[in-house]
């Protein structure tokens, strides 16, 4: 980190950071160091461009050439130094973008909502909301894939939508409970999508206001220790009942899923919210966030190293989703532990579905800056919603014109051209060589003329 600071202060034109592409072969400590470095760089103000490149062959060759050239500065003898002038190449790096990145005029964030109606008159039935933020975050937006955070949450939410829409289509099993699903954007930006949606629902007296409980999903793809983070201890009523159902569901699984409740009061002095449910709690809507993380600041949460093969264990994600589904069913159908255990295969969570979604989501960047209205991921999620839910709507959280809370900049990706160049001394050597050669030619011509 000190090296980074030195570089940015010493007048370098830019910094290029070579990031390992294949991280499954790295050791845990090494990966943790990288993640730590990523955090620190993110918080450090810099005024030179910082480029992140994957360690492909071409880049590594340049790196080796350059590090060889640096060590050659301390060459053993003058002859060796001279030889180095001939053999080593220097590199000149040019970018394809002429201008620096500018603030965008439109920093809108898109979210999706859909719902399943219970049996009966919709307005009179109780509602539970399931929320997950679908965006990814990392130090380089177009390199952030967010497999676990929050690809796992999105996959679980979609699987729940699929399951419950199947259950509800069976009239005998159609419960008297509404389910509201919300995929929020801008989760990494203080839950911008969610907060603005809540404000809009309040303004238009939307369905959200009657919700009994908001269950937010955030990173459940790697560990079978689940924590339900709440702002107020669930003493009675729906919150307590939900907790009971979770405990029942958790015990049904082998190996047992550890389920705990973590109580953290909202700190109004903080600039940003710790968990997504806090956005709801601040508006007097009860809720909690289900996460394998036990604290909001844990590592690797917003990292470019959060990629599918290292971060998500599909088997565990399936188990966690199953716990989630069973807890909800227990709540909605008011089932006891024995009945819950019979839910089983017919309405069980499909590992293929969950795995396929995670694979799809983690295959490209979902950074909020890059997800515009036409982005493929929005279309894919909307399609999935339309398949299972009704009243599917897009919600656009526009940024304010004056004094906006959030400003996006353009230019997430650029091309670096690295030309191999010879040091200046080399050209001088060439001139000397050419001069000697011409002298030889001169003598040759002279002697030839003398002969003839």
């Amino acid at each position: 980190m000190e090296k980074f600071r030195d570089l940015s202060l010493s007048g370098a034109g830019a910094v290029v950071i070579i990031v390992p592409r294949n991280i499954s072969s790295l050791s845990k400590e090494f990966l943790e160091e990288w993640i730590e470095l990523e955090r620190e760089i993110l918080e450090e103000p810099v005024n030179i461009p910082v480029y992140f490149v994957y360690d492909d062959e071409a880049v590594m060759k340049v790196y080796e050439d350059v590090s060889h050239a640096i060590t050659a500065d301390q060459a053993s003898s003058a002859a060796a130094a001279l030889l180095d002038v001939f053999s080593t190449y220097g590199y000149q790096v040019v970018t394809s973008d002429i201008s620096e990145s500018k603030p965008r005029k439109d920093s809108s964030i898109f979210s999706l909502q859909g719902q399943l109606s219970g049996l009966g008159i919709e307005e009179r039935l109780p509602t539970i909301a399931i929320v997950a933020h679908y965006d990814s975050f990392g130090i380089a937006p177009s390199l952030s894939f967010g497999a676990d955070s929050n690809g796992s949450g999105v996959a679980a939410l979609l699987e729940l939508a699929r399951l419950f829409s199947r259950i509800y289509s069976n009239s005998a099993a159609h419960a008297q409970y509404n389910l509201l699903f919300f995929l929020s954007g801008g989760g990494a930006f203080n839950y911008q999508g969610t907060r603005k949606w809540i404000a809009e629902q309040e303004a238009t007296d939307g369905i959200l206001l009657d919700v009994q409980y908001v269950l937010c999903l955030d990173t459940i793809g790697q560990s079978n220790s689940l924590h339900l983070h709440v702002s107020r201890l669930p003493k009675d009523g729906v919150p307590a009942s939900i907790v009971q159902n979770f405990k029942k569901a958790a015990n049904l699984h082998e190996p047992v899923t550890n389920f705990t409740v973590v109580h953290k009061k909202i700190n109004l002095a903080e600039e940003t919210l710790a968990w997504e449910h806090e956005a709801f709690s601040m508006r007097r809507l009860t809720g909690g966030t289900l996460s394998q993380r036990n604290s909001p600041d844990s590592e690797g949460r917003h990292s470019i190293f959060d990629r599918q093969f290292t971060s998500v264990n599909v088997g565990i994600l399936k188990e966690n989703t199953a716990v989630l589904a069973e807890a909800l069913m227990g709540q909605i159908f008011d089932l006891d532990a024995d009945s819950l255990s019979l839910v089983g295969d017919e309405f069980g969570v499909s590992e293929e579905h969950v795995g396929a979604w995670v694979q799809y989501l983690a295959s490209f960047s979902r950074a909020a800056q890059l997800v515009g209205n036409e982005h493929a991921v929005l279309l894919a999620l909307e399609q999935a919603f339309n398949r299972h839910l009704k009243d599917v709507r897009r919600y656009q959280a526009k940024s304010e014109k004056k004094d906006p809370e959030l400003v996006f900049y353009d230019v997430a990706e650029t091309k670096l051209y690295m030309y191999s160049v010879k040091p200046a001394l080399f050209d001088l050597f060439l001139t000397a060589g050419v001069a000697c050669y011409l002298a030889l030619v001169f003598y040759a011509v002279q002697s030839f003329s003398a002969i003839s």
Partner: protein, 183 residues
């Protein structure tokens, strides 16, 4: 900027390597004694005319089939045969030129190779040698110009010999020259 100057410098190096021997050959050989500059220019014009005739021949009898990209050895052989036209051109020049044998050979060879240098290499060097990235290609191109000089002077000498000598020697020299065309 410094970088632009450095790349112009490399161009300068290449030009020195390419043209140096030509200038030295001109100044310090028998040519300068007889003020042969315009003679060499006339040779250059003859070179251009020969190339034009060759192009016309190629276009008429061996039209390029742009669809086939494969290397057709027979077609390439035929095209190289048209290069024999170069020999014809040089021979005619030698016949028409006045002066001593040495002078004729040098003037023809130098003028011919010089015209070839300007026609084939100058644009390549101007565009490429000034590029940021360094490759040995341009120095090689420049050195190739030197080889051309020697080659064409030699061919001129051989042709002159061939024109003068008796039948026996003729065929041997003729064979050598034919082979030279197919390089």
């Amino acid at each position: 900027s410094l970088q632009v100057k450095m790349t112009l410098y490399h161009l300068g190096n290449c030009l020195a390597l390419a043209c140096g021997p030509y200038l030295i050959a001109y100044k310090y050989s028998i040519l300068s004694e007889y003020g042969s500059f315009w003679r060499c220019v006339r040779v250059g014009a003859a070179y251009l005319a020969t190339q034009l005739v060759k192009l016309l021949l190629l276009a008429t009898f061996f039209p390029i089939d742009s669809a086939s990209i494969q290397f057709d050895p027979w077609a390439e052989f035929l095209k190289a045969t048209v290069d024999l036209g170069d020999l014809v051109g040089i021979y005619l020049l030698l016949l028409k030129m006045s002066g001593k044998g040495d002078l004729k050979i040098l003037a023809t060879g130098l003028g011919w190779a010089g015209a070839e240098l300007i026609a084939t290499k100058s644009i390549g060097l101007w565009v490429g040698a000034r590029g940021t990235e360094f490759t040995w290609e341009y120095m090689q191109m420049s050195f190739d110009a030197n080889i051309n000089l020697v080659h064409h002077v030699t061919v001129a000498a051989l042709l002159l010999q061939w024109g003068r000598s008796e039948a026996r020697r003729k065929t041997l020299v003729g064979l050598v020259m034919l082979l030279c065309s197919y390089r």
